[in-house]
């Protein structure tokens, strides 16, 4: 993946977060994506979200597969460890890393091809394991990096730049995640930072697998008329059901008063996500409601966005495995080796 080192321009006035870091400290190398690529907007939202969260960069791990989208882990949080793995297999690498060190914040960035084509199986099983991670799909309906082939997210009838029409049914990652039992399911749009930033924050703080499908247009291969993943289409067909505010533990909590219905979800560290339902009766804690709503939107040719489902009581991979709370990498060798005396006992059983 190519990247250009960005000159670090420091504005003395730049606002600092609670760690004393400015937003620039959360940036990465200069993007080499096409000008106007939706993925760069997602990167900007990620920078904003992690800066606002006071996330210590060296305690975060940026994980990705292969694709234009997967490159973007180089473009934020340069002080974090990153792992650009192989195409479609980022979930397994993250699962292993998380097994070894449960305390880092895992940020997975993938593409629709990476997640729904080659990596479909790994995504599904990471959801089932409820690996504690943020999983962002930068969804443009095509393979950007290999120049515009349809991905499994392409809508029926959508046209490639070469004029071919897709006839295969699309895989909707939101419906998939709901079906597989994901405990945090959201959708947003790369061009809607106001919606995306709080969702990213809530997703990162969620204890378990947080899937965020971000419609992120590919200006080179899929931003034309007839593409349901174009800027114009999403802007005009977006239906925001649930708006989210993320309120970190240590910040003063101001209750927004504009929305009639509100659900407060407390995260494992005590901070809160406040979900404002714009549709009367929408219950973001009900998998059924979410499922029905997303499908109803699809039928109408609309895109359901917002935080669609959350279950903050789910058991994550480590709960299911009953792993010790200390990260396995931090256990001293003495706590792992049974020793000489135990060996004598063990071998006596093989006589």
């Amino acid at each position: 993946m190519s990247s250009i080192t960005k000159p670090s321009v420091r504005h003395p006035s730049a606002r600092k977060n609670h760690l004393g870091l400015s937003r620039a400290d959360y940036e990465g190398a200069m993007s080499t994506l096409c000008a106007g690529c939706g993925h760069d907007s997602v990167t900007a939202a990620l920078v904003q979200a992690f800066w606002e969260l006071d996330l210590p960069p060296h305690r975060a791990a940026k994980m990705s597969g292969i694709g234009c989208s997967s490159k973007t882990t180089a473009y934020f949080m340069k002080q974090s460890h990153g792992f650009n793995s192989v195409h479609g297999r980022m979930p397994s690498v993250t699962t292993g890393a998380n097994a070894a060190n449960r305390e880092l914040s895992y940020i997975g960035i993938s593409g629709d091809g990476d997640s729904l084509n080659i990596g479909f199986g790994q995504l599904a099983h990471a959801i089932r394991r409820n690996v504690n991670m943020l999983y962002v799909i930068e969804n443009n309906g095509v393979y950007g990096l290999t120049k515009g082939q349809f991905s499994a997210a392409a809508d029926v009838g959508s046209k490639s730049r070469k004029g071919e029409v897709n006839e295969q049914t699309p895989i909707d990652p939101v419906l998939l995640a709901l079906t597989l039992g994901a405990t945090f399911v959201a959708r947003s749009f790369s061009g809607d930072k106001a919606q995306l930033v709080p969702i990213l924050k809530a997703g990162l703080m969620h204890r378990g697998f947080a899937l965020i499908d971000v419609i992120s247009p590919c200006v080179s291969f899929n931003d034309h008329e007839g593409s349901a993943k174009s800027y114009a289409y999403v802007r005009s067909h977006e239906v925001e059901t649930v708006a989210a505010d993320f309120v970190p533990l240590r910040r003063e909590i101001k209750v927004p008063e504009t929305h009639a219905e509100m659900t407060v979800v407390r995260m494992h560290d005590g901070s809160e996500v406040r979900l404002h339902s714009t549709a009367p009766g929408y219950n973001p804690r009900s998998r059924d409601t979410a499922y029905r709503h997303v499908q109803a939107c699809i039928k109408k040719g609309e895109v359901a966005t917002g935080l669609l489902f959350i279950d903050d009581t789910g058991r994550c991979m480590h709960d299911m495995h009953r792993t010790v709370t200390t990260p396995l990498v931090e256990l001293p060798y003495e706590a792992l080796c049974p020793g000489k005396v135990a060996m004598e006992r063990i071998v006596s059983r093989y006589r």
Partner: protein, 599 residues
Amino acid sequence: MSGVNDFAFKIGTVNGTGSASANALLMQAIFRMGIPVTGKNIFPSNIQGLPTWYEIRVSRDGYTGRPPLIDLIVALNPSTLKQDIATVRPGGYVLYDSSWPLDAKLTRPDVTLLDVPLGAMCREAFTRDRDRTLLRNIAYAGALAALLQIDIAVIEGIIAEKFGRKKALLDANHRAVHLGYDYARKHFSCPLPFHCAPMDATGDSILMDGNTACALGAVYAGATVGAWYPITPSTSLMDAFKEFCQEFRVDPETGLNRYCIIQAEDELSAAGMVIGAGWMGARSFTCTSGPGVSLMQEFLGLAYYAEIPGVFINVQRTGPATGMPTRTQQGDLLSMAFASHGDTKHIILFPANPAESFALTVAAFDSSERFQTPVFVAIDLDIGMNDWMIPRLTWDDGYRPDRGKVLDAVALEQMPKFFRYVDADGDGVAARSLPGVNGKGAYFVRGSGHDKFGAYTEDSTAYREVVDRIARKFETAARALPAPIIQRQDGADVGIVCVGSPDAPVREAVDRLREQGIIADVMRIRAFPFAPEVTEFLGRYETVFVVEQNRDAQLRALLTIETGVPRDRMTPVLDYAGQPVTAGTVVAAITAQLAGRSA
């Protein structure tokens, strides 16, 4: 030929009928009489109803290879009677269940039939169908005890240990043993000419299979993450790891686990998990077999190039494709050595028995972290799933894991700037940092082209600098990995080379060749890339034989590629049809070759 404490017998049954425990009982009893013994389980890839055999070799000289001849067969499987009777040496014995008539066409004039009405006796003695089937096995064990003079008190002792206070089971088993034992004593002249007599040769030994030993090695090495996808013949390895962890790795206060075993959705995923955990700094491993190694290729290349540790235990089975899952082979040598596209190379350690499976699994974790690269432990079904007599495993509490060059927070803070792939010491190994430790250690792992600073590159010089340094790292590794074991004799003019399980039959063959006037030295290679001694050994002898269990002489190919010794200087001795090679096969191949040359 066969005689006291020097013979072999075989039991042919149907799988799923419970004969395994009777066979284990016999083997353990002989072992406890102080007599060296080995067992080979020849079983089908099936859960119930197909033929299965168990071969037990009693060898006062301590030979553990597959037996050269079968002196007695217990032929209880009607569908293989003909073939089973045919496997006995002339002058041998056939024990069969005379509850049903034996087709006269199947018998041979040159063997002695031992008719024992096992089924009928059990039908009479036991009421439940299940008991009648299961205890028939214990009854043949009893008959063999009488015929082969296996100490009945030792057998009863093992049964008592096994069933403890379960009185009904205990009684039923005792009864069944005596049905066979008493019947044989009454009807045959016991013991047979070949039989057991107590010795004192097993006091410092244990009976263990290689999968258990590898699992124990992973526990003792401090592995915390195991990721796998079930596949014969490796499955019992992760099962054993889990059992040991449940015993030794549960926090006594909280009841929580100091390990994480993940059953992945496939081997690609298992490899990814191993690599993710290795990158984080955990000792992580997987166990698999050939088909799994095929699926792991892409990830192995990533780990090679991004320099991430991880241990990959390959319990080889007969390929290609699904092949014969319950048969042994050494067919993955090349696919492990160069797994993945591009210029890659992987460290492989080759245990020859379960004792080494333990030691080399520990060594694999050390090598993997020291050289920051995946390490294969290559065993095979014969080592992994059969019980071998090995010296008691011991442990030195002074052992400390070799974590290699890992920079801690203090070291990182003191550096002006950390770059991941800079070879500061000239040995090809660059220091690494672990995620989460210190901001100064942060870097970007990538499988794409990178320079020594870890940055993306498409520059030829910068690319080459890194891949050439990795090649240097493997040269360092070749000198540091477990050295070959070389057994020399005065006046040797033939060299024999092998890896892994053929070691036992090869050493037995060397003894037999000496009796025929052929003096051979043996080199058993224990690691790839090859140590300098390997090339040196190959150059010493005019005639070098390479014994291996695959069709295409893969070890010879590797030796040719890596040492520069011309291929045709090395004569392959190949046995690749799924059964462990025997000393007889090796002797025959070598004598035939040498005879052909002098003619």
